[in-house]
């Protein structure tokens, strides 16, 4: 259908619609307006992109909020089982979730490790005391696991608040670069959030988690053998035994409650007692794998295999250097999610492989009559004494 009126003439003169029909003319007009919008309003495309990103972030933030609420309600439900009836648990828990520790000033870094250690120790003690106050009916082991559970709730709460902060800040300032950065991180953050959710169920029931593989390997090493067991540092025990003519000090956190202990303090104490007789320190820990690597793969290396804020690592390296003791490390690969969620079969099986490899390294690197320290690092939740 062609135009016969003045409108068609106008279009024809303007070389816009040519000899086309009404629909073509309209489409071309819309296209022209759209083009003008981009020319007259250069930020339009960015605005459009910003609104898409904000919508996407909003959806993910709701997901994060749901996980946070789920973890919070499960935590309250579990704490209630061990608390006195007249306590306002929700208010008390919120206070713990918002508590913080201030890291020491690093302008002059001399002695910062010991300052950091002091702050972290105070923080841990205060945290434990707070949970103890909420759950007076829980025994010692249960208390440790409940503390871990509250730490999980605190972790997901903090994650949610940080993401919400960037979302709202980006929205308020219409700054695409702020929201773009948080959007790029969201897949990993959602994975961590999901791991927190799973971890909440594991700590609620006291199930062993992937991070406990170092402790599990240490426990399996001494299982069924004659040994002397005693506490060497806070929440840290040592099994003393003789194997193949060598004196073994197998150190780990005390279980089955969730604890990581103070491995560095334990190692220092043993070395100070044994002195030059200690010929090697073997450390076993879980380590983050790269994408594509198999979970439960056992890898051998050199150095202090221990995570955390670095205080224990520093102290172990310091004492090892002072006495010139070599540090051998075995790590078991796993993802961040697998480290805090119930232990997978491949990780549990890796503990048995580590035991054999530790025995081999002791036989090959330590002569008979000498002493060796084996430290199983990790969270002991669900792992008792062997």
């Amino acid at each position: 259908m062609g135009f016969s009126g003045g409108g068609a003439e106008v279009f024809a003169r303007m070389q816009i619609a040519g000899q086309g029909d009404l629909l073509t003319s309209l489409l071309q007009l819309i296209w022209l307006l759209f083009l003008m919008l981009f020319i007259l309003y250069p930020n339009f495309s960015q605005r459009l992109q910003l609104s898409y990103i904000l919508k996407d972030l909003e959806r993910k933030l709701y997901g994060l909020k749901r996980i946070r609420e789920e973890v919070r309600s499960r935590t309250i439900e579990t704490l209630r089982r061990y608390s006195e009836g007249n306590m306002d648990l929700e208010r008390e828990l919120d206070q713990i979730l918002l508590s913080f520790a201030i890291t020491p000033e690093s302008m002059d870094p001399y002695g910062i490790v010991y300052k950091l250690e002091h702050i972290v120790n105070t923080w841990e003690d205060t945290f434990e005391e707070s949970v103890k106050r909420l759950c007076p009916r829980a025994d010692r082991e249960r208390m440790k696991t409940l503390t871990n559970l509250v730490e999980v709730a605190r972790g997901i709460d903090y994650l949610y608040r940080v993401v919400r902060h960037y979302y709202l800040l980006g929205k308020k300032t219409s700054n695409i670069y702020i929201v773009l950065q948080i959007q790029m991180l969201m897949p990993q953050l959602m994975e961590i959030a999901e791991a927190y959710r799973q971890a909440c169920y594991a700590f609620m029931q006291g199930q062993p988690v992937g991070d406990g593989v170092g402790v599990l390997a240490a426990a399996k090493l001494v299982e069924g053998l004659e040994k002397r067991t005693y506490e060497v540092a806070k929440d840290t025990i040592v099994h003393e035994l003789v194997m193949d003519g060598r004196r073994l000090f197998v150190l780990r956190a005390a279980g089955p409650g969730g604890a990581v202990g103070k491995p560095a303090d334990g190692i220092i104490k043993i070395i100070e007692n044994e002195g030059e007789r200690v010929k090697a320190i073997v450390m076993i820990d879980a380590a983050l794998k790269l994408e594509g690597e198999d979970t439960g793969k056992v890898v051998e290396g050199i150095g202090a295999a221990i995570g955390g804020i670095g205080v224990d690592k520093f102290k172990i390296e310091e004492i090892a250097k002072k006495y010139n003791i070599p540090l051998y490390a075995f790590v078991i690969y796993e993802s961040i999610g697998e480290a805090i969620t119930p232990m997978r079969e491949s990780i549990a099986k890796a503990a048995e492989e580590v035991v054999e490899r530790v025995k081999n390294i002791i036989r090959s690197k330590v002569e008979e009559g000498a002493s060796v320290i084996i430290a199983g690092i990790g969270n002991t939740v669900g792992i008792g004494l062997s």
Partner: protein, 73 residues
């Protein structure tokens, strides 16, 4: 109406128990209070012994996933 994917994904580990009489290893779903190396009073389905030791608590992994991983890079 349908359970969400998150609800389906809760990992439920198995507890592996070794009979202290006949050394047979059995498994059952994890129960609160179980811990590795702990001893429990449960009947062995093979010999009827009533003392068992927990030798492992972990989530069983499907073998198919393992094979698929090996086929990739």
């Amino acid at each position: 109406m349908f359970p969400s994917s998150r609800e389906r994904q809760i990992l439920n580990p198995l507890t592996f128990l070794k009979c202290l009489s006949c050394s047979t290893i059995n498994s059952r779903p994890f129960k609160e209070g179980d811990y590795v190396f702990g001893e429990v009073e449960e009947k062995c389905p093979k010999c009827g012994g009533d003392r068992m030791k927990i030798v492992g608590i972990y989530v069983k992994e499907p073998e198919q996933r393992e094979k698929r991983q090996k086929q990739t890079f």
